[in-house]
């Protein structure tokens, strides 16, 4: 890529918007996943009995079971949210940038 092209793309408002919104979004989702997962792992390390508490008086099912399942579902939903937005909004911006430099 030539230097002029790099400068041209960097000055493109669509490109700036793409980089800004996408990195913000990626970081938010990454942090969400890390917070959920490390909260879970640290609970196991420091206070495992919190997850071992039964859900109710008449059941052996513990709090940890729905929480564990929920983390799996949460991970999947996060990938869905990102994929949907990236394949729509972000790709439109990227395509606009490509068009502006005659690449599509």
């Amino acid at each position: 890529m030539k230097k002029e092209l790099v400068e041209k793309i960097k000055a493109n408002p669509d490109y700036q918007k793409l980089v800004k919104t996408r990195s913000g979004f990626s970081i938010k989702l990454t942090v969400a996943m890390l917070v959920v997962y490390f909260t879970f792992i640290l609970t196991i390390a420091f206070n495992p009995s919190a997850l071992g508490a039964p859900l109710g008086a008449d059941t052996v099912t513990t709090v940890g079971i729905p929480i564990g399942m929920a983390i799996i579902v949460f991970a999947f939903i996060l990938t869905g949210i990102y994929t949907k937005r990236a394949n729509g909004e972000f790709d439109d911006l990227a395509n606009a940038v490509k068009k502006s430099v005659g690449e599509d």
Partner: protein, 555 residues
């Protein structure tokens, strides 16, 4: 000519198998006919696919990336297939069977790396790379040192993973099919070399997709059968399990006891996944970033679903296999008491398949388990062969001055060589304790491959010097800490106390790697470093927009 060699090799493979089967009968081991028939069907079908794929594999691009024409859904299934190895199917269901809730903790650790791969890695990787992740790491850095480092990390990861898979496969096949260990290992090695050398990535991908489909179907059937027994109530299933094994199965046990181990394991699983060469390579098989994202979305869905199934299967085994005299290892019980099951805890899912579906379904699951091993070792071997041919041969030794046909030939030779190494190692490690091997593979992937890849994509100030020193230090630290840790130092080498007290080194080795990369990059004032900083912006634009990225090939 190729086709003739191919037919010859198929006949050879079938002959080896038939020979082994007869031998099994002679040894009066229990021979599972339905398993063998279903396995032969799988092998026949996949060799058919390999034959079809061989005719479509004409260039290096076809060989490494199936021409870049795999769809997001197909690739998602193949990625899930790479990840759902026999070790995770039998190992995690066995762990749930043994410890209940702890098995779920492991599964979650294996899963949560995926969203992070999607948010941070999948897209720039697809936009910058061609065949291997070293393409990305060396995009603006010096080819020779970076590719050598990335290839060493890849080959180390691949060989360690291969050893674990080969030993597991030998034992599993011995147990399931009554074949002798060496025959089983050779059979796996020969078949994997066939798939990869003739069918390249296209065959490897389809073998993986078919196996993933079979595995998910079989596991779904088992989980549904278990739940049907309990009127689809988790409450009653768990109540029964608690009655048999005690209340401990419902809460976190001793698997991750201290905070350092817990975090270290989490780091290894998360970053290790993002540094596995055979997984990273899959992102080049799709046409663009859009399909790459879809791949991860589907893969995460399949893998998550699979882990929920293995959890149910593990509990199913507790209630249906645990005290069932049919699966009891009487000889072992006489020695050590308790109620050990035949073949050890990792056979829990296999016994459960018999408990819910009889001999026929046992045959199906056994065949699927074998198919799983074959598919995973094929993917690994292809990734290892690419590191040798594309990174070492074409880029380091020939400095890029090599035509695509020659490069493909070298990768086929590398595949055969890796097949031989895998067979020899598989046989050599038969009686060894290999519990540390997969952990070490993940630690290396997390400490050598991941930091270099990640920083090369996002950090402008990364220089060749920083990447090489930091990545090597990460690799060395991971290896050293595993050797000094409780598994190798105490259990294998027989010392009284571990020098490094934790089982999982990743927290330390990944930290060492990042800090060393940072330090040796920012203190690098060479002209070379300045050039590398300058090239960052063009690289970043390409990684963000896909301008200039590799497309799918024309056919």
């Amino acid at each position: 000519m190729f086709n003739r060699i191919f037919l010859f090799l198929i006949l050879g493979a079938v002959a080896v198998m038939a020979g082994g089967a007869i031998e099994g009968e002679v040894a009066k081991q229990e021979l599972n006919m339905s398993a063998i028939i279903m396995f032969l069907l799988f092998v026949g079908g996949t060799l058919g696919i390999t034959y079809w794929a061989a005719k479509r594999t004409k260039s290096a691009k076809d060989f490494y990336t199936a021409g870049g024409g795999i769809t997001g859904f197909q690739n998602g299934m193949a990625i899930a297939g790479d990840y759902m190895s026999a070790a995770s199917f039998l190992g995690i269901s066995g762990l749930v069977y043994l410890k209940g809730y702890d098995g779920l903790i492991y599964s979650i650790g294996f899963l949560v790396g995926w969203p992070v791969i999607l948010f941070l890695i999948a897209e720039p990787l697809r936009n910058l790379g061609k065949y291997t992740f070293a393409d990305v790491a060396s995009y603006r850095l010096r080819q020779t040192p970076i590719r050598t480092l990335a290839a060493s990390g890849s080959i180390a990861t691949v060989i360690l993973y291969l050893i674990a898979q080969m030993v597991g496969s030998g034992k599993l096949i011995q147990l399931l099919f009554g074949l002798n260990y060496e025959v089983a290992v050779i059979l796996v090695g020969v078949l994997m070399v066939l798939y990869v050398t003739f069918g390249g990535m296209l065959a490897t991908t389809w073998v993986q997709i078919i196996k993933a489909f079979l595995l998910l179907s079989g596991a779904t059937f088992m989980a549904v059968a278990v739940m049907a027994h309990y009127d689809f109530s988790f409450g009653s299933l768990f109540a029964q399990a608690v009655e048999m094994k005690g209340i401990e199965v419902m809460s976190p046990g001793g698997l991750v006891s201290d905070p350092v181990s817990a975090i270290s394991l989490a780091v290894a699983l998360m970053f290790g996944t993002a540094g596995l060469p055979h997984i990273l390579m899959r992102f080049f098989t799709v046409s663009d970033a859009k399909e790459a994202r879809k791949s991860v979305f589907y893969a995460t869905g399949f893998i998550g679903y699979f882990y929920i199934l293995t959890f149910i299967i593990g509990f199913g085994a507790i209630v249906m296999v645990y005290t069932n005299p049919e699966y009891l290892d009487v000889a072992k019980q006489a020695v050590s008491g308790g109620s050990p099951i035949l073949g050890g805890n990792n056979m829990a899912a296999i016994h459960l398949s018999h408990a819910v579906g009889g001999d026929f379904f046992l045959g199906f699951i056994s065949a699927v388990a074998f198919a799983t091993i074959l598919a995973v070792v094929s993917g690994l071997t292809l990734a290892g062969a690419s590191a040798i041919s594309h990174d070492l041969y074409a880029s380091v030794f020939k400095k890029g001055e090599v035509d695509s046909m020659k490069e493909m030939q070298v990768s086929k030779m590398a595949t055969v060589a890796l097949g031989i190494v895998a067979i020899i190692m598989g046989i050599a490690f038969e009686k060894q304790n290999i519990a540390f091997v997969v952990g070490l593979a993940f630690a290396i992937a997390a400490s050598a491959n991941f930091p270099v890849l990640m920083l090369s994509m996002y950090w402008k100030k990364l220089t060749t010097r920083g990447a090489v020193i930091g990545g090597s230090m990460g690799l060395a630290t991971a290896v050293l800490l595993v050797i000094l840790g409780p598994i190798v130092w105490v259990q294998i080498l027989g010392n009284a106390e571990a020098i490094f007290p934790y089982k999982y080194p990743a927290l330390f080795s990944v930290t060492v790697s990042f800090i060393a990369i940072w330090f040796f990059s920012i203190t690098d004032n060479s002209q070379n470093a300045k050039n590398e900083h300058e090239m960052f912006e063009a690289q970043y634009i390409r990684s963000q927009t896909g301008i200039g990225a590799e497309g799918a090939s024309e056919h």
